[in-house]
Symmetry: C5
Subunit: 369 residues, 5 copies
Amino acid sequence: MATGRSNRKTRKRRAPPGTAPGTLVADPGASQPTIQLIAYGPGSFEEVAIKEIEDLGSLIDKHPVAWINVVGLANLDLIRSLGEMFDLHGLALEDVVNVHQRPKVEEYADHLFIVTRMIEGGAPPTTEQVSMFLGERFLLTFQETPGDCFEPVRERLRKGRGQIRGRLADYLAYALIDAVIDGYFPVLEACGDRLDALEDEVMARPSEGQARRVHEIKRELLVLRRTIWPHREMLNGLTRESSPNITDQTRLYLRDCYDHTIQLMDIVETYREIATGLVDVYLSSVNARMNEVMKVLTIIATIFIPLSFITGLYGMNFDDTASPWNMPELKWYWGYPVVLGLMAAAAFGMLYYFYRKGWILGGGNDSSR
Amino acid sequence: MATGRSNRKTRKRRAPPGTAPGTLVADPGASQPTIQLIAYGPGSFEEVAIKEIEDLGSLIDKHPVAWINVVGLANLDLIRSLGEMFDLHGLALEDVVNVHQRPKVEEYADHLFIVTRMIEGGAPPTTEQVSMFLGERFLLTFQETPGDCFEPVRERLRKGRGQIRGRLADYLAYALIDAVIDGYFPVLEACGDRLDALEDEVMARPSEGQARRVHEIKRELLVLRRTIWPHREMLNGLTRESSPNITDQTRLYLRDCYDHTIQLMDIVETYREIATGLVDVYLSSVNARMNEVMKVLTIIATIFIPLSFITGLYGMNFDDTASPWNMPELKWYWGYPVVLGLMAAAAFGMLYYFYRKGWILGGGNDSSR
Amino acid sequence: MATGRSNRKTRKRRAPPGTAPGTLVADPGASQPTIQLIAYGPGSFEEVAIKEIEDLGSLIDKHPVAWINVVGLANLDLIRSLGEMFDLHGLALEDVVNVHQRPKVEEYADHLFIVTRMIEGGAPPTTEQVSMFLGERFLLTFQETPGDCFEPVRERLRKGRGQIRGRLADYLAYALIDAVIDGYFPVLEACGDRLDALEDEVMARPSEGQARRVHEIKRELLVLRRTIWPHREMLNGLTRESSPNITDQTRLYLRDCYDHTIQLMDIVETYREIATGLVDVYLSSVNARMNEVMKVLTIIATIFIPLSFITGLYGMNFDDTASPWNMPELKWYWGYPVVLGLMAAAAFGMLYYFYRKGWILGGGNDSSR
Amino acid sequence: MATGRSNRKTRKRRAPPGTAPGTLVADPGASQPTIQLIAYGPGSFEEVAIKEIEDLGSLIDKHPVAWINVVGLANLDLIRSLGEMFDLHGLALEDVVNVHQRPKVEEYADHLFIVTRMIEGGAPPTTEQVSMFLGERFLLTFQETPGDCFEPVRERLRKGRGQIRGRLADYLAYALIDAVIDGYFPVLEACGDRLDALEDEVMARPSEGQARRVHEIKRELLVLRRTIWPHREMLNGLTRESSPNITDQTRLYLRDCYDHTIQLMDIVETYREIATGLVDVYLSSVNARMNEVMKVLTIIATIFIPLSFITGLYGMNFDDTASPWNMPELKWYWGYPVVLGLMAAAAFGMLYYFYRKGWILGGGNDSSR
Amino acid sequence: MATGRSNRKTRKRRAPPGTAPGTLVADPGASQPTIQLIAYGPGSFEEVAIKEIEDLGSLIDKHPVAWINVVGLANLDLIRSLGEMFDLHGLALEDVVNVHQRPKVEEYADHLFIVTRMIEGGAPPTTEQVSMFLGERFLLTFQETPGDCFEPVRERLRKGRGQIRGRLADYLAYALIDAVIDGYFPVLEACGDRLDALEDEVMARPSEGQARRVHEIKRELLVLRRTIWPHREMLNGLTRESSPNITDQTRLYLRDCYDHTIQLMDIVETYREIATGLVDVYLSSVNARMNEVMKVLTIIATIFIPLSFITGLYGMNFDDTASPWNMPELKWYWGYPVVLGLMAAAAFGMLYYFYRKGWILGGGNDSSR
């Protein structure tokens, strides 16, 4: 089933236990890499698709800032070469390839290693790891698959809009992280819309599948929380720690980004509480309906079972010729009308009892209970 | 339905992901702005509706303190001009326009940026963002729509009551925040009144809609908590951080205001726990009623079904002429009375059994169970 | 209803939002004040009911320590005069009159402002605010209504028992706070006794009202926790902060008092968990009883409904003269006894089935399920 | 009932509110004291039952370390004398007599005051307060009743086993605390055994009393947690604070003891979660059984009630001579067999419907629901 | 039963309370020890099975780093000798033998004592204690039983792969800890697979045993959490504390390992929440099914019970010759057809009522409820 399949996606695949640290093991489903270089400065801009890694060096040196974006993680040699070129730590490279990292920031000698996870819509939503190495003048990013939420940032770079071309690599990193974080809002909104619709539905008409759907939404929120929470920590780290690679000016922007993660957590937690409350509402609706069903059964059965007994009584075949005591009622002049009246009285008595109990016609009063 | 619509209001609308930071995007439903200036000092007071922003400068300089209140956020040019005039940061201005901020305080070079949310009654209650820029001698506030809870503060300024005219802008900011916080109390009280009424009702007579109403109250409390909590943090920040824009004297007043937010959180949490407990009471009432319904059905059915069987037995048409074994009872002299007695005995036996079980007439004792 | 009324008492009444800070607004139900002065030293003791506030000054100067106790908060002028005499802050005076403060301690220039809440028995228990201003040589206390738990302290002062007369005002403040805290123990014990009784009852014989009573006890515990918790914080503050008004010796005593609040919180939390567990026990008892009711119904109905069908079958009036196929059984020699035997066999078969299921006579075994 | 009685034991008895601090009030049930002195050094050992407190001084001076163990707290004069002899603080002495203290450590001028609680088996388990005053060369302990878990320590002292005789009083204190803490393990294991047995039982065959027994186990765990938790804090305090009375060497041993309390808390929390989960399992078992009962009733009733209707139909006595429309079926040649066939068809139709629903014989498939 | 037995394994066996600290008591089930020495340096490697402990010294001195691995803890003399040889603290040795320690790190004069727990698959999973003493140039490890997850590390040592031979003992310790931690991932994945399968099953077709299976999975997760959590603390300790035995380079690797424990905790917590949500889904499915069963019963009974009453009515034997009022209907010309029509009308009326209620054929509308 679709649910089961998607669940399995949340599980981690990794190198077998005991493997040497820093060993790069490509994910079986990884794509072949393409490299895009965007190098720019206040007055310059160049966007090149890199074929040979040797071309990179000279291009980078020409511009104040270089953004090297690698899409696809299947070619381990390429990743190792880049690691050597930018002097990256083996453990960080291992984390780039092993795409199940939690968002985090790690400080190395002359660069920061940042892991974020880009959300992609769908039910349930999935995430893609984006790893970044931030030096003073370069930003090296790794994505798992083509397709990202960075196009607006590229557009700003191309058009030279805003202050982005005039700033260093840290501002570019901020812009990308901001795009990643902002990407969570529409997904969360879609989730909230479904929760709202489900809430309206549960309140209007509880039915069996709803408990499952609440469970599915709770599961998605669980996944979102698990992804957003470490982003929050990561941004907190970036904002507070005094890495020389991040300027105070950019820190102000990262603080804004951090605020967004708090807002996201807020929304996730609120949705989770609403979803939990919804289960209570659902259960109490189901209970109330069962109660109603039982009342109908009880009223009908309680009225007619005694009446049926009476009819059964006078349907017996005792021989009235054998004894004067054998069912003399059957021969009475008013026998049948009296029995009919008796049954009517019993039925109305029952109905009055149920009315007093408050089971029918909104009757009953508190003190009688 | 009304509930669904109002829920949607709690969702955030914002600039599309990847937009450059500091980009002002007007909310589609924003109102056209009006500007009100209240400038004052210990001995002076002036209240002017500003038409042209150029008029502002000279008016502000005439008085020790100036409060510029902008109502309506549709005119981005105006907001940008004010930003330039008071040297405000782009990110802060973005937050002014994007009216879904959590309450917070941010320190900039020479001013504080404070976001609060003003509560408005109604079911469910809604909030309106009030953004403040606090300099030493000016307070610049932005509201979304006309209508606020600041009239008593304006009245105190006009009449020169209390110490407010003799103090700097930080005291004015305190007075406004205090008015915002105090506005939560009546809303929370109304919520508590409804909870009390619902509690009395659930205890007196549980009915289906109550679970939904508890859920709605819990949802409102969730919204209130989500708004009050960051106010608490914000005031804590204002009280503890050593911004030069806030005097020690005002800090004392802010501490008082902070106490109020603690009190608010206290009340919200208490109500939440009561509401949660109410669900238990409701469910157990529903269960108890179902139990009662089942007992009535069981007693009636258990007594009459066996009796009906007996009447059925003697309603069979076996031919007593074909064999002496075919229902000879029907011809016995005492047949009918004996059967009647048998049925009465069975009925009383059942009733006694139920009495011993404690199902009827409060009978039964613990050891018999 | 009583419950609803008492709930309303937990809500706060306060000055309308936007009122100037420090504005004294008398509670509509406040009592007219009486002032009692107890001034003492190691060798001296004087207890006077003060009529004119002017008399106070000279009396205070005569003794090392003065305790001025004001009962009733209706006379705002009096409170203002006292505020001026002892140089008290307006915000603190506002809190004295607005009797819904959480327990807290606030440090002012030369005195401490302490708020505690005195418990009063009753169901649900209510609290009364006691505000204290602690200077080096004076203690000024405000109560809402006559009647307090301080009589033993007064007695110790009058008799000169213990070390109390030889110490400064901080020790007196400790003694009063200690009396307030100790007052919570009997109230909590009474609450625990009721919980124990209810627990015994639920275990012996669940009935509908019990869920409500658990809810009421949980509500009371909620109120107690909400009152005790800030006392704990307040005492922690008094113990740790280095106010010059409190000597190290007294701090040792306050630490003891702080331990008591921890003990109180402990008991409250334990009771809360027991009460929560009790709801589970109650619900499972109700479920078990419903199960039992259903079993009785099912056994009786399942046995007799098929039997009734058989009797109905042979109660049909098909004309045996019209066809040899029309109910020839009715004429068989052994017809009636065979049908009786058939019915007995069906009944015993059912009973054996129920026995195997474990529904009757403790039968059934695990492997058969 | 036993449960109610034991609950009451967890409640605190104390001096009436307002009593002067340091007032010793003997517990009404306190035992008469006996005093045991064990004085020792690397090469010396003496164990004396003390009759007169005056004898104590000379005996103590003869040996490097003295352990004075007082069992029974009824004699307040004796306790006061000891307090004077060792210069103990009045508040600490009050805590010795008021045997409802939480475990804690308090630092006084030249000694530490330590409170621990010794567990005693039984259902529910009870605890006994052991108070210790630790000086450099003496350890003064107070127990409520004879019988303790210190015999192995005394044996080690007597035999001179291990390093205990060569160390100062702090090591002795550690050895006693260690014995107290280790005493919790068997009690907790017994509790875990009962929980395991109950778990097996609930899974095999749910019955009503189990919910109560889970509740009782949870209650015991609550009591254990409430006792173990402050021990943990107390040991943490002893390990970290720099009291001169505790050597660094002993601190290492106390850290080990602290580890044990963490382990105890771990086990208690695990058991609590298992017990909570057990309630869910129990409730779902009860629900499943009720479902099964309902299914049996519904199957039987749904099959036979329509059949009984048919038999009732042809049991009516309409006069077929009055009209050709009055029940002509009764005279048909194939009337009876056709009706029998009709009833069989109805019964099998119902059975097939139930099979499709999956109610009988494991039938039904998911897509049909 | 298997469950009960395995539970008992989680309980601790230990020395009796009061035993002297540092006393070694062998676990009754401990294996006889074998000792393996792996000594190595950048250019050398030696792997020897040690028979006599005296051989150890010379072999160790020959190589820069020595890893002495002891498997089996039954020989206490051997352990004591090793303790003397490496100057280990008695308390640490006690923890080696008492194999129920929580993972932890303790700093001693010149070595670190580290406890980890190696996971072993199976349902429920069990753990085996691995104790390590880490000096600058030696690593001494103790395992309970043969078989571990260190084979890949040994292989790396033998082959000289990676940097492991060129580093000191701290890197070896890291490699072992990393292998232990990585071993948890497959076990957790297996647990997650079972949870997924169970989730699919509960959603497709709830049945009684599922609640138990959820409970068992929750129990396993509890055990895993209890083991992983202290690993996290332990690694945090190793990363942050400034022990001279751990180089900064290795600290970087340990941070990576620490990240893995966070990931593990994340997964465990997510699974726990899913499992908890699954109980809700299960209960609401069971409730929904019960509701469906009740509806079928109610519909059938409510339709046929009144009809049966009517047939019973005309099955009575009142003597129509005794009175014109005795059941004249039986002789009416249209009597039988009219009664049939009446019954059909009653049945259709009921069906329409149920349709309006939404009980059959998806009928009913919200406003009618």
